[in-house]
């Protein structure tokens, strides 16, 4: 659906994007992660056709973005991080305006506006002026405007950042519904829990370069170091030598009665650790394999390079 190849963009002397490459498969929710200033919004503005780039290529649905800029408008829906509207319009008037721009017939336009106002939970506030909306309400309206034309590729830049937990859950559910309806969603966010909840694949960007891009499953396999947390029934003064000398153990951290064992290889490491624990002069209160999270991958990748 979306193929980004060696994309580069500079603002004067600052290189915002450096040879960014990733692919998004049709019908997927693709998470785009990175710390502030990493280049996420620049990349999204380029893919949305709102900003030019220095080199590389962007292909959407097999069409080169540079050669088919006008043809691709309408194929891509975009929710910017801070959506801007005409404050003197009501939400319904704004959506009808977007429908008019898209060339929808009046009856279809009215039906679509009402349907989307209901979908994003703004039906009751539909006739209030947007200038009086909260940031969260504007974000919802932005979502409705972005999907108004039923785009095949939807770009969402921090769609949940201004929402309360309930609103966040609504948006995540909406994203999942759009994926189920066949839409491809490109989601930039710093809320990693949202990504874990809904994304199929992820790219992590740092200083304008992609440091990892893969499916969630393969990222977990590749980047998460298995960790076993052991709690003893008494405080330990030091890490027992039987554990540090184990072949498959990478390193060990000790905090009172709690020990975290970072494995090089999980399966043989677990067996080796159990034997070592059995030989210790201390009873084990609990033994658990830590559940890997995207945050572990993110922190590790962003901090390690």
């Amino acid at each position: 659906m979306l193929n980004v190849e060696a994309l580069s963009k500079s603002y004067g002397q600052t290189r915002a994007l450096r040879d960014v490459t990733f692919q998004v498969t049709a019908g997927q929710v693709f998470g785009f992660l990175g710390p502030n200033g990493a280049g996420k919004t620049t990349a999204m503005n380029i893919i949305a056709g709102l900003m030019d780039f220095d080199s590389g290529s962007v292909t959407i649905d097999g069409m080169d973005l540079r050669r088919n800029r006008s043809g691709l408008r309408g194929v891509v829906g975009y929710l910017p991080e801070s959506p801007a509207f005409y404050g003197y319009m009501t939400a319904r008037e704004y959506l009808l305006f977007i429908g008019d721009v898209s060339g929808l017939a009046p009856a279809a336009n009215r039906a679509r506006a009402d349907e989307l106002l209901d979908t994003v939970g703004l039906a009751e506030a539909a006739r209030r002026r947007i200038g009086g909306y909260s940031r969260g309400m504007k974000q919802r309206l932005g979502m409705a405007a972005a999907i108004y034309n039923r785009p095949r590729l939807l770009l969402l830049d921090e769609p949940t950042s201004a929402l309360d937990p309930e609103g966040r859950l609504d948006v995540i559910t909406l994203i999942a519904r759009m994926r189920d309806a066949g839409m491809t969603v490109f989601l930039s966010t710093h809320i990693l829990a949202d990504v874990e909840r809904v994304c199929d694949s992820v790219a992590i960007i740092k200083d304008g370069a992609v440091v990892a891009a893969d499916s969630m499953t393969r990222l977990r396999e590749r980047y998460i170091q298995p960790v076993v947390d052991v709690v003893f029934d008494r405080m330990l003064e030091s890490v027992p030598a039987q554990i540090t000398s184990a072949v498959h153990v990478d390193r060990v951290s000790l905090d009172g009665d709690r020990m975290s064992v970072f494995m090089r290889d999980l399966e043989p490491g677990k067996r080796e650790l159990l034997h070592a624990l059995a030989d210790l002069d201390a009873d084990v209160a609990s033994y658990s394999l830590r559940q890997p999270s995207l945050e572990d991958i993110f922190v590790r990748l962003v901090n390690s390079r």
Partner: protein
Amino acid sequence: MSTFAAYLKKERMESSRQSKYLVLGAFFGFFALSTPIMLRLMPSIIESQMPSFPKELMEFDAVYSVQNYIRNIYQLGNMAVAFVLMGVLADERLQGKLVYPVSQGASMAGVVGAKLVHYGVAVSAIVFASTMLNYYYSVVLFPGNNPGIVAAAQSAGLLAAYFATRVVLVAFASAMFTKPLAAGLVALVVSYVEPIFTSLPRWKSFVAYSLIDIAGNSLGTGSGMGMGTGTMPGAVAGVGVGAGAVVGAGAVGGASAGAMMAVGRTGNEVNGWVLAAALIVEVAVIALVTVWRMRNVEIAPGAGGQ
């Protein structure tokens, strides 16, 4: 075409809800009403201050009153148009308001075209109506030397066409500059520098300011201080940025051609047909450059600080 129609509707709504019609209407209307009243009161005021001032210099008629309005509204009206419309395109891209329409397939030619037509027609209509209002009050307050409603309508049409060219000029500046104030000031400077070119015989038929000259002179000769040509306001700086002579949207260009057809050669050394053709071409070129600029400028929020 859907973009043009959608933006035309949006601009009407915006102007109405943000009171742009009201501001422009009140501004032009106020001066249309106040200038003949002030002119009527002027002899009494001067007489009370300077009893020896020759009375024959203060015998004004309706023609002079309308000419006086035209001269004043050139200076003040340019400010009103520049400051009310300076953000017409700059604000849209500065605040990222074009992101949704453009990503939904809006054409920039439609966006720019709708704005030019809407504001060109709105400003022209307000200017025409206010000039006719001024004519009416001038005739009421100064019964002698009535220029006639046809001549007044011709002058009003020419003045309306001139201000339509200012709309295009301000929109062009608004596309070129990110900051609306910079756009407004540049458009204002160009409008105030333009009269310089009317003092050059070869240029006279190519600059929009000639419309102001013709609008005043076509009323005939008024009694008073006469209609000065090439009036220069104080706020003129530097050399003009190109000719800057522009006429509003095609319809207004047609109106100006029609008015000038009636005026023909006015004895003002300006060929009405050449001026109409030149201004229509200039407007078309500036409108196309505005569209080109908007197509190529980055419209993402916060992008492109030229």
